[in-house]
């Protein structure tokens, strides 16, 4: 068993721009804005940054290939900048690069930044793009909602849940996130919706309606990490530490063999199990104080409650409808509005989740502050349920 990175790396600064339709800002502009906030928060000079990882989901409508455009935008002085692309999990994977660099001793102050400029695409939803020569030949040119909607039918079939009841639970997921986002000035979608709004919305990919889908946004977020020792040298006391950081990538099993029934996301389960072991968590449903999960679609959030071990298998519908994951529930999920309402600028999303956890654990989350959080979990999912990459992190206050 590897030693892992528990409590070896701390976050000393974070920044996150207001997500949304940022028509007047380029991807580079947004990146600069997030980085400036993170630097100011960390209280370190830019010259101390000695390595950077930059998450970019879509090259064509973003900064383009390589780490070069990001390095130029941020004015980093010839430090190594690595571009990270791992579908929608890119943000957490960039964070992983920075954290590992610090943990290895190769870097003192590393940056993880993520950015996406989706509203330059020209249409709603994610851009249509190639997934590579081999995939395009055999795959279906569908859409993200279509890929995730299949979870809903498979979940219903496996657990014998009627369509109306599942739809009701999915609506509850979205109504909750819209309510939470009202307290978040940086969120993209801040208008409350009703159950009726969600249930009567136009169909996007059966059974997912418009309000089952997350916001498609411009945005950027940034983290600066270092060792606990360096942080203390800077005079910081309440240190926000990385307890676990795990990534699991599909090995092809889901599509190759017939024993995956399509009702859950295997990589989430694997990454969560590894993260709990790394963080020393035995009962996640009790020990995790709050979570930001990859609610690209309401059904994803619902099955993720089971995949992370927050709900028993088959019980997420009941738990969601009981309000277990509402702001005042036993385990608040998407307290910042989530992908659903904070928005989903691909490369930035994993870092946006960490930003909220960092604020919450620092006691700086203003109106939406959760009382006495101990562990915050982020779950960042790339790809599609049948072929995915899941990143799970656990963040907490560093014990003295």
């Amino acid at each position: 068993m590897p030693q892992g990175i528990r409590d070896r790396v701390v976050i000393i600064g974070m920044g996150c721009v207001r997500f949304g339709e940022r028509w007047d800002r380029s991807g580079e502009d947004l990146l600069v804005e997030a980085f400036a906030e993170a630097l100011a928060d960390a209280g370190v000079d830019k010259s101390l940054i000695d390595a950077a990882w930059l998450a970019v989901g879509m090259d064509a409508v973003n900064l383009g290939p390589s780490g070069i455009p990001g390095a130029i935008a941020l004015g980093l002085d010839t430090v190594p900048v690595t571009k990270v692309e791992n579908y929608c999990a890119s943000g957490t994977d960039a964070f992983r690069g920075a954290v590992y660099a610090v943990a290895s001793g190769a870097s003192d102050f590393a940056v993880a930044a993520g950015v996406e400029k989706l509203k330059d695409t020209g249409y709603g939803g994610l851009p249509v793009r190639t997934r590579g020569t081999q995939y395009d030949m055999f795959g279906v040119t569908g859409s993200a909602p279509g890929n995730f909607a299949q979870l809903a039918h498979a979940y219903s079939a496996r657990h014998g849940i009627a369509r109306d009841r599942l739809k009701e639970a999915l609506a509850h997921v979205s109504v909750k996130s819209h309510a939470n986002a009202q307290k978040n000035p940086k969120a993209h979608l801040r208008r409350a919706i009703t159950m009726e709004d969600a249930l009567s919305a136009p169909m996007i990919a059966d059974p997912l309606g418009l309000f089952d889908c997350c916001g498609v946004s411009d945005g950027a977020a940034c983290a600066i990490v270092t060792t606990p020792e360096r942080a203390r040298e800077l005079g910081r006391d309440r240190l926000i530490s990385v307890k676990a950081l795990q990534l699991a990538t599909s090995n092809g099993w889901e599509l190759a063999r017939s024993d995956w029934d399509g009702s859950y996301v295997n990589t989430t389960r694997v990454a969560a199990k590894r993260a709990y072991a790394e963080a020393g968590i035995e009962d996640p449903a009790r020990e995790i104080s709050l979570a930001e999960v990859h609610d690209c679609f309401s059904i994803t959030e619902l099955v993720t409650m089971e995949d992370l071990g927050f709900s028993e298998q088959g019980a997420a519908v009941r738990d969601v409808l009981d309000g277990a994951y509402d702001a005042d529930g036993r385990l608040p999920v998407q307290i910042d509005g989530g992908l659903k309402c904070f928005g989903h600028p691909i490369g930035a999303s994993g870092l946006r989740m960490l930003y909220e956890m960092y604020l919450q654990l620092s006691g700086r989350a203003a109106d939406r502050q959760v009382r006495d959080p101990r562990y915050g979990l982020t779950h960042n999912l790339g790809g599609m349920p049948n072929q995915s990459v899941a990143a799970v992190s656990v963040i907490g206050v560093l014990d003295d």
């Binding site: 695409t121 020209g122 249409y123 939803g125 249509v128 793009r129 020569t133 081999q134 395009d136 030949m137 055999f138 795959g139 279906v140 040119t141 569908g142 859409s143 909602p145 279509g146 890929n147 909607a149 299949q150 979870l151 039918h153 498979a154 219903s156 079939a157 136009p202 169909m203 996007i204 990919a205 059966d206 092809g252 599509l255 190759a256 063999r257 017939s258 029934d261 399509g262 049948n386």
Partner: protein, 486 residues
């Protein structure tokens, strides 16, 4: 042992039908047509003469040993490529011997009867003749109401035939009843009275009489005169001139789904064969740049095809009276697709060739863990392969996607599993979303995968459709297994 006749027949009719009334409702202001409740068949955006030919050939070959095949001819005047052989695509899609002699023919609406006659007169071993037609017609033209899309296949061989070949005759001549220049989309037709009286009524009886004379048969011996034609009244007139009883005149499929050009004579012959009793004399004729006539005798051999046959395909249908959708699927109107429709579908030829066994042949790789589709990276070329196209599968996941661009929204897709092993991500075709449910049986259909409009290319792959009970007529079919394949 030489060729003795047709040993098996197959058919394919697209799922979509539009009523002539629905067409006339949009075009009658121009043409004066009123239409009626009768229907014509039409291909969806992901079908062409190649996909229809594959389906007709499958319908024909389903219980036939394909590895004995020596030659394959695909006949059409509307093949999607001027220079890319439909027949070669069929070889890969059907897993036919790669040393088969392949030919694509066209040139006139009697292309298929001429190919069939050449095959029956020759001695090249078991040969599959497939005819497939998807004639595009001008908006508001009479042909738009008369024509339909479809395909048929006939296996010629030395097994005991279902249709014993007695004789055939042909008359060639540049009688231009219609034409279509190589760079045009639509046919240009001359006056139907001239076509009927000077063309059909003279050339067809000549071919029929020659053929019957060669067979030593009197015209009155003909039980079924199969002569599909778009010209009203011309079949009855040709029969009368040839001395054949008007009661013998038939074109069953054409009357149900419209005139499928070069494919029509084979389609209607397949339908006639389904209904004929042993000993009946069947004459099939075609008109175009002359005329062909072939004389057969229905034998007592059972019709050994477990496919749909014409009587199975005709009622397998969905009425879609949306005229603009019909036109869009045929490329007759340019729709505003939105930016999602601008996705560049450029294909890699080396990749298609490397993967032809999987893409066209739907072959999985088999190993000790089961069957895997598409084969995993690193699978040796010599690894054993299992063909999945003719196996039923079940739905594991599905959705109906309104966001993804399609000319036939919503795009329906999901995961299917083959009970004997193998899983596949597929697009569903010929279905409504209401028919999709986890656990439902589906079977595979050969379709267009991607259209590269910029470069004029298209790739082919397999899609899945919910299994429906067959309605095939099973006359004398002692060798049939339960025909629930589609």
């Amino acid at each position: 042992m030489g060729v003795t006749g047709i040993t098996a027949l197959g058919a394919y009719i697209p799922w979509h039908r539009i009523s002539r009334r629905a067409i006339a409702a949009q075009t009658g202001w121009l043409s004066g047509a009123k239409g009626d409740d009768s229907e014509r068949s039409w291909t969806n955006w992901d079908e062409d003469t190649v996909t229809m030919a594959v389906e007709a050939a499958r319908d024909c070959l389903v219980e036939q040993p394909a590895d004995a095949l020596r030659a394959l001819t695909v006949c059409s005047t509307t093949a999607p490529f001027a220079d890319r052989a439909s027949s070669a695509i069929l070889i890969d899609a059907l897993g036919l011997p790669t040393d088969s002699l392949t030919a694509d023919t066209g040139g006139s609406l009697r292309a298929a009867t001429s190919a069939l006659l050449a095959t029956l007169r020759g001695n090249s071993g078991p040969t599959l003749c497939v005819a497939s037609e998807q004639i595009t017609t001008a908006i508001g033209s009479p042909e738009e109401l008369i024509f339909g899309d479809g395909a048929a296949a006939a296996l010629v061989g030395d097994d005991p035939p279902v249709l014993e070949f007695l004789s055939g005759a042909t008359v060639a001549g540049d009688f231009v009843d219609h034409f279509r220049a190589a760079d045009r989309r639509h046919n240009y037709w001359w006056e139907s009275r001239w076509i009927r009286d000077e063309g059909i009524a003279k050339l067809v009886p000549q071919a029929v009489s020659d053929a019957l004379a060669s067979a030593g048969l009197e015209p009155t011996a003909v039980d079924r005169f199969v002569f599909p034609t778009p010209v009203r009244g011309a079949a009855a007139l040709a029969a009368r001139k040839a001395g054949i009883s008007s009661h013998a005149v038939e074109a069953e499929v054409t009357s149900q789904v419209g005139f499928a050009g070069a494919a029509a004579p084979l389609l209607d012959l397949a339908a006639a064969c389904e209904r004929a009793t042993p000993g009946e004399i069947i004459v099939v004729a075609a008109f175009g740049a002359g005329a062909d006539a072939l004389v057969f005798r229905r034998t007592s051999e059972p019709l050994c095809a477990a496919g749909h046959g014409p009587s199975g395909w005709v009622p397998r249908r969905r009425r879609e009276d949306n005229y603009v959708k019909f036109l869009a699927a045929r490329g007759e109107v340019a729709l505003g697709t939105g930016m999602r429709g601008e996705f560049d579908e450029k294909q890699s030829m080396p990749a298609l060739w490397r993967n032809r066994q999987a893409m066209l042949g739907l072959q999985a790789a088999a190993d000790d863990k089961g069957q895997r589709f598409p084969p995993a990276a690193g699978t040796p070329h010599e690894a054993s392969r299992v063909e999945l196209a003719n196996r039923p599968a079940t739905i594991t996941t599905f959705t109906a996607d309104h966001l993804a661009f399609s000319l036939n929204p919503p795009t329906m897709y999901g995961l299917i599993d083959f009970p004997e092993g193998g899983r596949m991500l597929v697009e569903y075709c010929d279905t409504e979303v209401e028919a999709l449910e986890v656990g439902r049986e589906v079977h595979m259909m050969f379709r267009i995968k991607a259209k590269d409009e910029r470069r004029g290319f298209r790739s082919y792959f397999w899609k899945a459709t919910p299994t429906r009970p067959s309605t095939r007529v099973e006359r004398g079919s002692s060798c049939h297994k339960a025909s629930e394949t589609a």
